[in-house]
Symmetry: C2
Subunit: 376 residues, 2 copies
């Protein structure tokens, strides 16, 4: 627990894997934790109550989307993002940098920030470290992310160094612009692409500035799981052990297991929600595509091991029908299930760490995925 | 209560308006009742649990949609429509006739039935009274509707007579084809367009055949509210007083009040669900279009008089944002609210009838709709 009320307590470890508890102004969060992504103030296709019912305690909001629509000042006038989206628990917001690079038009980056046009209406905007801090403050984010440039992949060592150094400059400006409040935290983001020396320099620079948590960015951008795990292997040991570690934008259930194994505490990814909207289900027995005709007469539950309303109340045949008929209930039910699966997965990993049985539990999970190759 | 366990009990009346209770194999239903429409085995954008949470006890399924996809025989193999859609309560299915006329391609009607091509894949199908009864039996419909031809509007007296007489022939064939089971009912459908003599002949023909309930069809097809009410004024008195009366495909809250006032017990309509998906809300203070920019900063609840999760948890500004951002949660929340509003409306009408205060309650409801003209 830091002096300002935002803190991280280590509850247990098993090898490098660890179980902890985040303390925040909006309640505690047990780690390892997966954050469902609530891009535009809603975890797509779910009510806030149903997100909470899966056991999720921390969700992510996107600064880029929210600053453009409905606008950070508007959300502040309406009482902040917690009230706006009916999520009284902790919220982490990203800095906006990633989406500016992936979604905005006519973006122009300089030493002080980035100017871009909205992908919605073409209006012009500028994002600097100070403005990103101000926006996340207006949103009332429990955890604020420093503004960074997500280094594209692949990048030459020179490109990766220049990009990382810009991000470190912005990290300091973000720290300067962040308004400390009890129970609120600011995270820095390690960059450096796949180059150990750059990752080390970035981790050292961030530690010097001092943050409440440390994210690893610039991964899950096409480098592949083996390269990603390699970066974690040499980067995680460079991060302060008493602060939470957050791997941004990751990933599949197998990615999560491997990253927790390597000492990561926090994750976010659109995968469970996006997959749910496109008929793909993550289950204890593998990945299914519910559009597959073989489910048309399958009266069994999606995942017999799952207690979510989708699995408890409906058959695979019904889910198949809903997607064939393009009924909204299909995405609704499958999103719910996938978010439930991810929450159950993380709770199971935490329990295994606490029991000192992480490796065996991970093996058991992986060996259960027999349907993994059945679906393209 | 009829001998076979399906029945209708009159609990109270107030003028011509009446409160009753349907007894069915799948539980009781208090009337007047509004049935949410579950076209393809789902009330669009709602889980079955949330439909139940609004107080709805009877839902409608569409024979035309379900026979084409996923198929009546498949639903029967999977345990029937109740199990398929997780709705253990009563289900009424229409006969398929209306959608064949409004949706199917290359339809060809003859004295014995109608041949048509699926609007989904162009496959050829034939619907006869016997086949409609068989399909609804396979679906395990609690209430089966006789196959009829919904007379188009306008129709000349000769067209309307020929159409009505065909429907009466099919009504007898439907009765012949219906397999009686305890707690299951068959309803006939009065046709005759806007011609009192034809409506009278149709009502007499149906009464002679004998049904468990009587629907009034061929309305809400463009004739206008005044004409519809006029048809009810002269048709309802011709129907057996001890059986439920069902006005098909109606309507707005004002339509429902006027029809209950005229002795109707049952309704169905896509209006609350379709409106919810297109940002329109029915409330105690009128009809709103949540896309309207004036809601962008409105932190108040959609309907202060409503206890649904949409009104209890979210602001108008949030709903406006969801529709602007095309987030699925917008249709989800507004559909829930609208179905809740319709259920609350019917419960209020029932209570008013039981208290002998129907007219005053109806006046009060209508006078609350001050926002009625504000939205196009």
């Amino acid at each position: 627990m830091t002096a300002d009320g935002f803190g991280f307590r280590l509850d247990a470890d098993d090898g490098v894997a660890r179980a902890g508890t985040l303390s925040t102004a909006h309640g505690p969060v047990e780690t390892p934790v997966f954050m469902p992504v609530g891009t535009a103030g809603t975890v797509k296709a779910m009510t806030a109550d149903s997100v909470r019912a899966t056991g999720a305690r921390l969700v992510l909001g996107n600064t880029y989307h929210l600053m453009l629509r409905p606008g950070a000042e508007r959300i502040a006038r309406l009482g902040g993002l917690h009230r706006f989206m009916n999520w009284p628990g902790p919220i982490l917001t990203d800095s906006g940098g990633f989406q500016v690079m992936s979604l905005a038009k006519l973006r122009k980056i300089d030493a002080d920030g980035v100017t871009f046009q909205s992908h919605i209406d073409g209006s012009s905007h500028r994002l600097t470290p100070a403005r990103s801090m101000a926006i996340q403050h207006l949103l009332d984010a429990t955890i604020t992310m420093a503004l960074d440039e997500c280094t594209p992949f692949p990048a030459t060592p020179d490109q990766a160094r220049a990009s990382m150094e810009l991000s470190m400059r912005w990290a300091r400006l973000s720290r300067d612009g962040f308004v400390s409040r009890p129970g609120y935290g600011l995270f820095g983001i390690v960059q450096g692409s796949v180059y150990p020396a750059l990752r080390a320099a970035s981790a050292a620079a961030l530690s010097d500035i001092g943050f409440d948590g440390y994210a690893i960015g610039g991964l899950a951008v096409g480098e592949g799981q083996a390269e990603m795990f390699a970066v974690l292997d040499y980067t995680v040991p460079l991060l302060p052990a008493d602060r939470p570690r957050y791997l941004m934008g990751v990933g599949t259930p197998d990615d999560l297991i491997g990253a927790v194994h390597r000492g990561i505490d926090m994750f976010d990814c659109v995968m469970p929600t996006r997959a749910g909207r496109t008929a793909r289900a993550f289950t204890s027995i593998g990945i299914f595509n519910l559009r597959n005709a073989r489910f048309a007469d399958d009266g069994g539950p999606l995942d017999p091991a799952c207690a979510c309303p989708c699995c408890g109340n409906h058959s695979r045949a019904y889910l198949h029908h809903l997607f064939k008929a393009e009924e909204m209930l299909g995405p609704m039910l499958l999103t719910w299930h996938n978010v439930q699966y991810y929450q159950d997965l993380m709770r199971g990993l935490r329990r295994a760490i606490q029991n000192g049985g992480f490796a065996a539990h991970a093996d058991q999970l992986r060996s259960g995925w027999t349907a993994r190759e059945e679906i393209a």
